[in-house]
């Protein structure tokens, strides 16, 4: 496709972690990411094509600020072309027997497994997340998701949505930058299994794994136009969701954009599913297993640099164990290694973009201004790139911005409670309702609490677990519709028995 200059080869300047015992670096080879082209067009109708416009965007490695590639800013004309290609492919794809559609998806799952090292490294480079997470979490889940929905393609009559459920048509899918390839899998796998065709727009800071996925579609022999990928920023996304010949809109991202899309499609017959922001409470009761809880809290907020919509960003700790828990948590945070995403020892990688770093920095500053107490472990950060120390705030009130707004970074707000009822009250005191955590050894207390939390996913004595069989999605302003499991089929099926 294009020359590989040495842009992936420049190492991240090592950060020296004080107070940690030294680890020898264990770097993954950036060359494993395979060839990154100098510039990319859109993937439409089974081939890469140039944009009708001349505007190009750049994607950078957030750990080095080096430009990785240029890609096209999709125009309305590009979007229209992609939708036409998807529409053209729909008739054949939707009439293909489910058992045959399934085999394409099984092929994709297998190719993802085969190429998982390449994809994991590419994802780390483009996104900034640690290779340990792309290798052990993102990629295995991507393959599993395709494998799971592959099996549904010829069993839709038995899925509980009535006899002969039908696909909707062309699905417009807009995904975020925090789990680029995993979000693609969450969107594309159920859409194809149910017989829809797809136009997908990846995020403008992380387009590379989606563009690489085009090559997987090629290898799998997927019919032209079944999956189309149009790159660009929010303008391209808006053009795609607004396109009159789209039957389905699926969006994962921020609540304000989700609102705008819901407004945009009002009055149409487009079916909408939204997976939006969160401000999850992670509730620790006084009888919780403390060491496990500390691990869960750390995983809850520092996994993927806190760029997780279901992150446990509000720690609600029972007052009587606050000091003990915070001591243990700070000790643990002192051992987190921040730095080169491609080092297999790294716990916290780079913040995805300068813009996101600015937002995290601004909200953390607001936390201090509003009177919360800020703490972060001593650790040096690499010179170039976008970095933010794992940070916690104590003395946070429910009115503080850091307790109400989604920070989407490695920043934990600590609040306290005295009674279980108060914990539930505070946990639910947010317009969001995506996830929550509960830590206690008492089973009946878990069920009592889980029953009262207004959140779509509740992790008890664990956190941030995902599985293709497990429905994921929010209450309230965290969106609607579910992804994963049998529930994840419904947003892509025409089940309008409501048309009485």
């Amino acid at each position: 496709m294009a020359k590989t200059d040495k842009k992936t080869a420049q190492p991240v300047q090592p950060a020296k972690a004080s107070g940690l015992f030294e680890y020898a670096p264990a770097p993954e080879s950036p060359a494993a990411a395979g060839e990154i082209a100098t510039s990319y067009g859109h993937f439409i109708g089974g081939r890469f094509v140039d944009s009708s416009g001349s505007e190009a965007l750049k994607t950078v490695n957030p750990a080095t600020e080096q430009v990785l590639a240029e890609f096209a800013q999709g125009t309305e004309e590009d979007v229209d072309r992609a939708v036409k290609a998807a529409r053209k492919a729909f008739a054949d794809w939707s009439s293909l027997p489910g058992s045959e559609r399934a085999k394409y998806l099984f092929r994709i799952a297998r190719i993802v497994q085969e190429r998982s090292r390449e994809l994991a490294v590419l994802e780390s480079i483009d996104n900034g997340k640690p290779i340990r997470e792309t290798r052990d979490v993102d990629l295995p889940l991507v393959a599993a998701h395709f494998f799971y929905y592959a099996g549904w393609a010829d069993k839709l009559d038995f899925a509980g949505f009535g006899p002969n459920p039908r696909p909707l048509g062309v699905a417009a899918q807009v995904i975020p930058w925090n789990f680029p390839l995993l979000m693609l899998a969450w969107k594309v796998a159920p859409a194809l299994a149910t017989g829809n065709t797809v136009v997908l727009k990846p995020a403008e800071t992380t387009p590379l794994t989606a563009l690489r996925f085009a090559d997987i579609c090629r290898q799998a022999g997927l019919p032209d136009g079944v999956v189309n990928i149009v790159t660009g920023d929010g303008r391209t996304g808006a053009a795609l969701t607004a396109h009159p010949d789209v039957n389905k809109v699926a969006f994962t991202g921020s609540t304000p954009v989700g609102r705008a899309i819901a407004k945009q499609i009002a009055g149409t017959r487009k079916k909408l599913s939204l997976e939006l922001g969160g401000k999850a409470a992670n509730i620790v009761f006084d009888d919780a297993p403390l060491d496990q809880a500390v691990e869960g809290i750390v995983n809850g907020i520092f996994f993927n640099q806190g760029h997780v919509c279901c992150a446990g960003s509000r720690l609600l700790v029972q007052e009587s164990i606050q000091d003990e828990l915070l001591d243990a948590l700070k000790r643990r945070m002192g051992t987190l290694r921040v730095g080169d995403p491609l080092d297999k020892n790294t716990d916290i990688g780079a913040i995805n973009s300068a813009a996101q770093l600015a937002r995290i920095t601004e909200l953390a500053a607001a936390g201090e201004q509003e009177g919360a107490e800020r703490w972060a472990p001593e650790c040096e950060l690499p010179g170039a790139g976008y970095w933010f120390r794992p940070t916690l705030f104590t003395g946070v009130s429910q009115a503080h911005r850091i307790a109400r707004e989604e920070i989407f970074g490695p920043v934990l707000s600590v609040l306290t409670f005295r009674t279980p009822a108060e914990a539930v009250e505070k946990a639910n005191n947010t317009p969001f309702g995506l996830s929550a955590g509960i830590w206690t050894e008492k089973g009946s207390r878990i069920l009592w609490t889980a029953n009262r939390l207004r959140a779509g996913v509740v992790w008890a004595n664990t956190f941030n677990k995902f599985d293709p069989t497990s429905p994921f999605g929010g209450y309230k302003e965290s969106g609607y519709g579910r992804e994963g499991g049998r529930h994840g089929l419904e947003p892509y099926l025409n089940v309008e028995a409501l048309d009485v």
Binding site: A260, A266, G267, V458, V495, L498
Partner: protein, 300 residues
Amino acid sequence: MSETAMRIEVFKTYKLYVGGKFPRSESGRVYEVTDAKGQWLANAPLGTRKDARDAVVAARAAVKGWSGTTAYNRGQVLYRVAEMLQGRREQFTAEVAAAEGLGAKKAAALVDAAIDRWVWYAGWTDKVAQIAGGANPVAGPFFNLSTPEPTGVVGVVAPRAGHGFSLLGLVSVIAPAIATGNTVVVAAAEQAPLPALSLGEVLATSDVPGGVVNLISGRTADIAPTLASHQDVNALDLAGAIDPEGPGAAAALEAAAADTLKRVVRPAADPSAADWTASPGTGRLLSFLETKTVWHPMGI
């Protein structure tokens, strides 16, 4: 004086049904309701935006208790509604006949269907969790269970068209929402609100807790937008949002609902062609539910 001497009939003062009580509209105003031929039937309260907001407060207050009752109990309450409606069959037959311009026989069949629809949904209350939820076989040592929960307060624009809209259609939108533990505020069909207002009297005597169902008559263009934009309404059923334009049109209501990301059930593509006697399926029953998935590690 003979037994057949003319007797002056006692008219009914139709009132709103809010929080289990029968208030007049805060507007102090009424509007004329006529039959299909334009004959005066009754005055209905001209419910206002304020009445709608008061009803939302009542509906919100009722959520905790109603969603907290056992599914078995909710089923019995819904069955009780069918029992009470059966006892008032003649009254509703007359009201439906007048509202929809039907003969007595056809109207009676629609009332019977409405009674049966309550029975259908009464049976659903303790089954829906088993068809909408279940265990998920995750690839790891975890207990993982998905269960449906009520969305909360549902704003309902009652059907205004289609065969059987005035009572059967109304029941077909209220019953599925409350069967699963939601509470509702209903903008009654503007031109034919009498069956809805009378249904309030049935509900009040059926062990349905006050506030679970609230019924407001008046201008749809006033009441529906209030529900669509209300911060404390979680979902909208736009069955009767058939205005082609203006604040009561489905597109405008859906756009207003987007600000608070309400779950929205759109009106049918052609509402006037709707036949409310058709099998309702599970579409509406499953529309006002949130799936909650709980994980717990397995181990010793």
